[in-house]
Amino acid sequence: MSERTELLLAIADDELILGWRNSEWTGIAPFLEEDVAFSSIAQNEIGHARALYELVAAELGTTADELAFDRSPEEYRSAPLVQLRRLEWARTIARHWLYETADEIRLAALKSSDDPEIAGLAAKMDREEAYHRMHADMWVDRLLATDEGRTRLEEAVEELWPYALGVLDDALRPELVARAREKLGQTLPEAEPIARGVHEAELAELWEEMTSVRRSAPAGARW
């Protein structure tokens, strides 16, 4: 597998798994408007995953669906940050902000890629991600505005920080540290990144659910 494919597949897996995780709030988000908005963000992420899988599929001679659903859980390259199941709003917002910020840094690098397909897709994704970032920034500001919100967000960031570091490679990581320091204004723990290649137990559970429909149908079934 080429370096290009490895890179695209890692990002696609991030977006698919995070989209899936975010969609777990559908119907139970704190209030109706947020329910609709967060579900829509989840759909966008899965849309990005599809576009990325299609680029990979063209190179490997397969399809986006096969890449998304026909691999075993160990084969996914998603960062452990997005694998975690944290159905608690402060943690959801902390992950949302940490991921979107890391993703922005990653997309900025991809937009200047020499590969026109990658640069083009990164620019397209970034135009949608801009609204995700706006949403995440506003929520962080909102939580930081009260004592209870700040305390809960800080606890969540502290727990997720080593995972957040694992989204980016060594070259891009310092920028995430700088951004997080500036925005969150809390002391970030010194931690080793929990990087790609680690598979949280929760990923296998998610995979069971995510692929159950596809596995229940005979190969080649059409919908």
Binding site: L32, E33, V36, A37, S40, Y131, M134, M138, R142
Partner: protein, 99 residues
Amino acid sequence: MVFEVFRQERKGQPFQHAGSVTAPNEEFAEIYAREQYGRRQESVALWLVPRDALHEIVEFPDEFEMKYRRVDGYSIKARLHEARERAGTLDMAPGAASE
């Protein structure tokens, strides 16, 4: 805060009331309105108006039932035709050239 949302389906068309969103401030309202009334490309523009900013008028007294102010049952088409005939401007009426 409640924001009333108006949406324009195509450029040049009038904005129509679409619904409302509840949000803590204008920035959140923008995100929520985008997701609820724009994500399917069903709008080319949205107006967000804080409900407090609306000046609502609901009472229209009509104590003397002045029916002559209303136009129901009044065929304006026939009367307009007569008036145009008198003035000799029938050929200038909208649609006249195509008839």
